[in-house]
């Protein structure tokens, strides 16, 4: 052992909560050590106690009612569990930093970024100097006085990281900070933290993460937690790499003369709110999906993917003035938000399901009732047939014994599979249908993603269904889709067959996205990635802020989609596409 004491030493930590059903032990004699300068990843299945551990490390359970603590936590030489509230605040101010999952609500909306940083530094006993931490995260210095609403998403993220690091912490705790972000933004956050670690090698980082790719790439050491204990402690490279999903869509490649199923042209969407400028989320977007051509819609957070899905499925009403053409199988989709639209049972949506209480599964109903409901809405009186279908499907997908449970008693993976069955039971089996799936895997443990992909593949064989996947997951895209549409800033910027795009992305955003999804990086990090931000003006190319091949044309004109063989791209200077093999 070296002379430097560990930053964190957890010995025999146990945490139990009082619940209506009795005391529930979440952590049970957990031991953990983090040395200065180390970057430790915590992984483990849902419910293993990862979040409870990070909360305990931040002292959030000290003196909390209904929480029973045992064992010791030593952080920076202090015994965390016995600290007085005052000493705890001091420790937090000086040595700890937390980056939370919910990025958008962590900044104080009524204070300038500089002011918030100054406050943090003063609390930590440092000289108030907001510029230095901001400069380290490539935050433009002239925006120091801006308040959060004046910043773009990317800038906010930078400001948050700067804020977390402003007190020059000795320990940074990040709990699932990236699971709601797209690949690029995940990478940006970790690049920023890594940059800081290079400056201050003594800073230790503890992060909880589902994504094996990020763990392998950034962690020095990985700890696997299960049932409240450390079950494995080792080298991140030994963690199983990103799962190899079998490409289930490959064999049914859609041919070029398949009829167009969804034809959307010139789709705009403007959100109006009182006292605000209307926000243009979709800017005249064109999208065509052919029959049985499963399409992935990928793009940055906030680029309008979900809005598009909501318009296509009828969650949001379509304003006929904001759509040149919007048809499905030859019939207009306008008015789809009304319950009696003829296409109602031919377009359904699989929702992303992060939460048992407010997700797409009614928490009051049992699994059987939930899956039966859409069938009864489609075919009143088909109760018997519907029930048979439910039980057959539950059995087929390994959910047979869950029929009487409620959402709260299902794991995330089970919930997602139930949700897929629910959505499918609302589809007519006899006509071509469209199933829109909004990030069906983003909240899942990697272990469950395979099951969800299997169920999508099996149902695609059975129904005459075409998928539109909205996803951040490149793996899901490769496994299930034929074509991919890349969205950026409310427009489609590239559209191509999946294998062409993965080999040879043309648009700068697609290039960045694919590069971020890869594990190997240049030694010095990625300069384009660190400059990456969403555009803040409507003129010019939305990617020009970080694109390498930016010219004067890019500043003046917004590029339109141009055709290159079987693909389309919106760029003034697209690299020459490689020959089709």
């Amino acid at each position: 052992m070296t002379a430097t004491p560990p930053t964190v030493r957890v010995t025999g930590l146990s945490v139990a909560f009082d619940t209506p059903a009795g005391r529930r032990t979440v952590l049970d004699g957990l031991d953990l050590t983090v040395r200065p300068g180390e970057c430790l990843a915590i992984v483990g299945p849902n419910g293993a106690g990862k979040t409870v551990l990070t909360n305990a490390l931040l002292g959030r359970y000290n003196r909390a009612p209904g929480v029973h603590l045992g064992g010791h936590i030593q952080i920076c030489g202090e015994d965390l569990l016995t600290l007085s509230p005052r000493a705890l605040r001091r420790l937090r101010a000086r040595h700890l930093a937390a980056i939370f999952q919910d990025f958008s609500h962590t900044l104080n909306p009524i204070r300038s970024i500089g002011g918030q940083l100054r406050q943090m530094q003063t609390l930590a006993g440092l000289a108030a100097d907001p510029r230095t931490p901001l400069a380290r995260v490539n935050f433009p210095v002239d925006s120091v006085g801006d308040r959060p609403h004046q910043l773009s998403q990317g800038m906010k993220q930078r400001a948050l990281v700067a804020l977390a690091l402003a007190n020059r912490p000795r320990l940074v705790i990040a709990d699932e900070v990236t699971s709601a972000l797209d690949v690029i933004n995940q990478q940006v956050v970790f690049e920023l933290i890594t940059g800081e670690r290079r400056q201050r090698p003594e800073m230790a980082v503890v992060f909880v993460c589902h994504d094996t790719r990020l763990v392998r790439q950034y962690a020095d050491r990985v700890v696997v937690i299960d049932h409240g204990r450390v079950v494995e402690d080792g080298d991140p490279q030994r963690v199983t790499p990103a799962m190899g999903l079998r490409a289930v869509a490959a064999e049914q490649t859609a041919d070029d003369d398949a009829p167009t199923l969804l034809d959307a042209r010139g789709i705009s969407k403007r959100f109006r709110a009182p006292f605000r400028r209307p926000r243009l989320v979709l800017r005249g977007l064109d999208l065509r999906i052919r029959h049985r051509e499963h399409t992935a819609l990928i793009g940055a957070s906030g680029s309008g993917k979900t809005t598009l899905a909501n318009l296509v499925t009828g969650v949001l009403p379509i304003d006929p003035r904001e759509a040149d053409t919007l048809t499905f199988d030859g019939a207009s989709l306008i008015g789809l938000h009304r319950p009696d639209h003829p296409l109602r049972h031919r377009i359904q949506m699989v929702f992303q399901d992060p939460d048992a209480a407010i997700g797409s599964i009614d928490p009051r109903l049992t699994v059987e009732q939930v899956i039966l409901e859409p069938r009864l809405a489609r075919e009143p009186g088909a109760e018997e047939a519907g029930r048979r279908w439910v039980h057959q499907k539950l059995a087929a997908f390994g959910l047979a014994d869950l029929a009487d449970r409620r959402a709260a008693h299902l794991s995330g993976g089970q919930r997602q599979r139930v949700e897929i069955l629910r959505a499918f039971h609302g589809l007519r089996p006899d006509r071509p249908t469209l199933m829109v799936a909004d990030e069906p895997t983003s909240m899942l443990d990697p272990a469950f993603v395979g099951e969800v992909v299997d169920i999508f593949a099996a149902l695609a064989d059975e129904y005459d269904v075409t998928y539109l996947f909205i996803t951040h997951s490149l793996e899901l895209m490769r496994a299930l889709c034929h074509r991919v549409a890349v969205m950026f800033d409310g427009e489609l910027v590239e559209q191509a067959p999946v294998d062409r795009l993965t080999l040879d992305p043309l648009h700068p955003y697609a290039r960045l996205l694919l590069r971020a999804g890869r594990e190997q990086r240049e030694a010095d990090g990625d300069p384009e990635l660190r400059r990456f931000t969403l555009p803040d003006t409507a003129t010019g190319c939305p990617a020009r802020a970080w694109c390498r091949s930016r010219t004067a044309t890019c500043d003046a004109h917004r590029p339109r989609l141009q055709r290159f063989g079987d693909r389309e791209v919106a760029c003034h200077h697209p690299p020459r596409p490689r020959r089709t093999p």
């Binding site: 909560f17 619940t19 209506p20 059903a21 529930r24 979440v26 849902n46 419910g47 106690g49 979040t51 409870v52 909360n55 499925t313 009828g314 969650v315 938000h337 319950p339 009696d340 639209h341 109602r344 049972h345 359904q348 949506m349 929702f351 992303q352 399901d353 048992a356 209480a357 407010i358 997700g359 797409s360 599964i361 009614d362 928490p363 009051r364 409901e373 859409p374 809405a377 489609r378 409620r406 959402a407 709260a408 008693h409 299902l410 794991s411 995330g412 629910r422 959505a423 609302g426």
Partner: protein, 393 residues
Amino acid sequence: MRSPTRRIALDLGALALIVFGLPWLTGPIGALITPPPANTEEAPAPTASDSTAPDSTPPAPDSAPLDEAPLDPPPGERAPLDHGDLFDAPPAPDAAPAARGDALGDDDLFGDGDPGPTSPDAPAESGDPLGDALFADPEPAPPSAPERTPARAQPDPTPDHPAPAGPDPLTLSRATLGSLLVGLLTAVVATLLGGLLGLISGYRGGLVERVAVRWFADGLDALPQFVVLVTAVALYRDLAGTEGDALLLAVGVLIGAVNSTQVLLVVHHQTRLIAARKYVIAARLMGWSALRVVRRKIVPHLRHELIIPFTQLVVWGLFVETALSYLGFGPSSTGSTLGAQLHRIDPFARPADLAPALVMCLLTVALAAALRDLGDAIEARLGEPEPPTTDAP
């Protein structure tokens, strides 16, 4: 106290005790809080002593007997038991022994085994300045009390109800139930009306929302509630020509309508939140009609949000009705609620005259506790299920 059923049972028991038992105890309690006469160790009849003004003559111990005098000339039976007038002549013959017995039993508690002979003398000896200061105007009270009280008593001059000075236990008990009824009526009306408007405006949005929230709710809230109520009750009374108990229901409905805005705003807000949840959107995508979505997917998730407003409204309805009736704008004439009782007694000459107010206070507390526990139990049964056991709290 783990099981909610037991807790509710206890609460309701306590409530019943208060509604039916407390009125019988107010006399002794009133006696307890009154300081004993300064110069007698035996403290024969404390309630009588304090109500006696210093300058009142010995044979007229108390305003109540004065009022009674013309209506109930033979006081022979009542004379020895002076503090019996706390409970007055009971309206029902079978209630009389109970009142008497109670009073007697409690009297023994005060250390005087034989109250009969001592009590008539007591007023003469006692002169308690503190009691006067608290409960009677020192100067004009004794002469004016006999004049005022009969005026109040006018609506009810039957020999069965000879004097309104102190409410007897049964009247008080009935008045408590009347108040409770108004409170419940208020809450029910407010919840139904506000809930309906809130659901429609929250789910539909747009113009309906503006009308219901901006014009109806905000508009009504901008007016002083009490003025609106007084006007409405007076108008109703004149137009419908009802009085007394018939007015009781009308007052409950009116208070409920005016207070429905609270429920409206809560329901409106919650409906908007719930309507944005994924399972509601999923139900819409199934092709359910708006009515069905609201009935099957929103209302069941909203019910437990109404529990707290409901309990508050019961109590608030009770309060407002009491105030209205006390001022004479309610069913004051028949004395069917606590406020009406206060209205009848108004010049509060003795601590026991405040019995309705005391009942009111305790009733409010007990009601709030009982309803809250009831709400918890309902919530546990039909509210959102507990958070998933797999996630950290």
